[in-house]
């Protein structure tokens, strides 16, 4: 009977395609928009990824990595003086404009790192030599900068090419692999001292201190000691799990800078509402199209279902047929929608934009929602079929 149910479904090509299309669009919207949102959220903490250090120390009011309040230069030494800290280095991080050889201006995310230790340097160099960063006017750019900072569209920046930051020469000595910045500007690393030369002077220029705990001291213990002894805010810098992200509460604020940064964007920008609205629209579109189409499919087949009932098919058999039909289109639509999302992901990851990151739970959550929609559609049909009088087949 279930095979016949599927043949009945596939035989009504128009409705079948409509159902699959509705669920595929819903799947695509829910999965793709969630992944773009998660990607965008992961971009908010790109500085933390691109300036790798186990602990970030910032001014007491700071909540996120892209908006730091400056510290006193002496704060580096204060952090170093904490007994559980192994080393500490200054970091400059800020948005600047560069002037290219053709006269165009571009936004960059300038990172200044300690010249002696090179702590905070990119983890993976694609070309060039990290050590050459110590040479005069040297900078390292990320792979996005290779295209963005080129003289003209289509060209690529090569090692040895130069541009200007605040009318001062910056010569590329290396290209690094990096996560895109939230602002969309490429990352440019230089030494801390040179960064201060590039940037218009302010009374306080130190944006953060990065450090690591001594051997045998936990990160939690180290940040507690730093907070206690310096009065500065110290955060752990490590990848956040979904559970860790969701466990953040105002009463128990996180000590993970990644979590704190992402939550700041969730609470202070319209990004979640914007993406959430699209996801809900996807859900509603899928629900409306699928439920309406499936219900109409059931109504059109009511005579046949009535005949089956008259011939001795039980309510249970008919309900199972409807569930199989609904879940089949659900799984096919989900598969197509996810395939479309994968295609989008392929393009996004290849071009490194728009942001795209799909946590493992997203496909399962979307599948659950799609199957929920299908169950609702099936239940509407089941409601009609269970009330169907088999005697209706005798009425012309």
């Amino acid at each position: 009977m279930l095979r016949l149910a599927l043949k009945m479904l596939f035989g009504d090509t128009a409705k079948y395609l409509m159902l699959v299309a509705g669920l595929a669009v819903a799947t695509f919207l829910m999965a793709q928009q969630t992944a773009v949102f998660c990607g965008l959220m992961s971009w908010t903490k790109s500085t933390l990824k691109n300036v790798p250090a186990p602990i970030w120390v910032v001014e007491e009011k700071v909540e996120q990595a892209n908006e730091t309040n400056p510290l006193l230069d002496t704060d580096v030494a204060r952090v170093r003086s904490v007994s559980s800290v192994a080393w500490a280095s200054p970091i400059y991080s800020g948005i600047q404009r560069v002037r290219l050889e053709n006269g165009n201006f571009k936004i960059i995310q300038l990172i200044g790192i300690d010249a002696n230790t090179l702590a905070g340097a990119p983890a993976k160099m694609l070309q060039g030599d990290l050590m050459k960063l110590r040479l005069p006017h040297s900078v390292i750019i990320d792979d996005l900068g290779v295209q963005r900072l080129a003289k003209k569209r289509g060209d690529k920046v090569k090692i040895g090419d130069a541009f200007e930051i605040n009318d001062q020469e910056a010569r590329v000595v290396g290209i690094a692999d990096a996560v895109n910045s939230f602002t969309g500007g490429p990352y440019v690393w230089t030494t801390y001292e040179r960064a201060l030369q590039y940037v218009p002077a302010q009374r306080k220029m130190l944006q953060a201190v990065i450090c690591a705990p001594r051997e045998g001291v936990s990160l939690e213990q180290a940040i507690a000691d730093i907070r206690k002894e310096t009065g500065l805010k110290a955060f752990i810098n490590r990848e956040a799990t979904f559970e860790e992200f969701m466990s953040q509460t105002p009463e128990k604020p996180t000590t993970n800078f990644n979590v704190s940064t992402m939550w700041w964007y969730v609470k202070n920008t319209g990004i979640p509402i914007s993406f959430g609205t699209t996801v809900i629209i996807g859900l509603l579109v899928g629900m409306a199209v699928s439920c309406q189409t499936f219900y109409s499919f059931v109504l059109e087949n009511m005579r046949h279902l009535g005949a089956l009932k008259a011939m001795g098919a039980s309510n249970g058999t008919l309900c199972l047929m409807l569930i199989v039909q609904a879940f089949t289109v659900g799984l096919i639509g989900y598969g197509i929608g996810l395939l479309g999302t994968a295609g989008f992901a392929f393009g996004a990851l290849k071009n490194e934009q728009p942001p795209f990151y799909m946590p493992e739970f997203v496909p399962f959550a979307v599948l659950a929602v799609v199957l929920g929609i299908c169950m609702l559609a099936a239940l509407m049909g089941i409601w009609r079929v269970s009330r169907l009088e088999p005697a209706m087949v005798f009425r012309s």
């Binding site: 009977m1 043949k7 009932k309 001795g312 098919a313 009088e389 005798f394 012309s396």
Partner: protein
Amino acid sequence: MTNDESKQLAARVRGVSKSFGDGESRIKVLKGIDLDVRRGDITMLVGPSGCGKTTLISIIAGTLAADEGELDVFGHDLRKMSKAAITRFRAHHIGFIFQAFNLIPTLTCAENVSVPLLIQGLSAHKAEKRAREVLAQVGLGDRIKHRPSQLSGGQQQRVAIARALVHEPKLIICDEPTAALDAKNGHVVMELFEHVARGQDRAVLIVTHDNRIFHHANRIAGMDDGQILEVHDVDADHPPPEHLHAPERL
């Protein structure tokens, strides 16, 4: 005991009544119906539209419950059976032929015919094998892969007959089986019913307006206003009464 009286009863209906609606709009559609449907016979129910024919066959088929009266089908008192038990009973003992054929358009003839066997729980392979045999018996052995839309009205009705016979029910209930057919196809279909009833000792109960097929009946029950007014045994010596040819004059 006459030869006709010796035939086994398929269905015995006594004092069956049925009403629809509530309050002032309540209408009594059947008013104390008595009827015997015998195996080996073609029994026809004739009468004007709205006289209760379809309601009566629905009750005999167990697709509708009577308000009062006795209803015995092959020794089973349907009024005492649960809905689920009646559904199972229908699946095993009753074959249906509908006016509009009610073949599922997306299924092939063989698949349509195999439906009653699948309902009984037979495997698809065995059901289709049996369906092909029955299709061959109704002269459609070369149409097993065709869909209903690829067949003429007569052929579709023969597929519907094959579907009604495939699980070898003892009672076949037909609602206007020849209404959509021309005289030639109607004749072919009725010959099939004669073979089924008399050759295979099954009961065939037909609701019809089609006076072209009256001579195929063994018994004709004339209905009007929810009552059976007359029952005629028909054979070569006793043709259907003329007045039945215009049921509105019953």
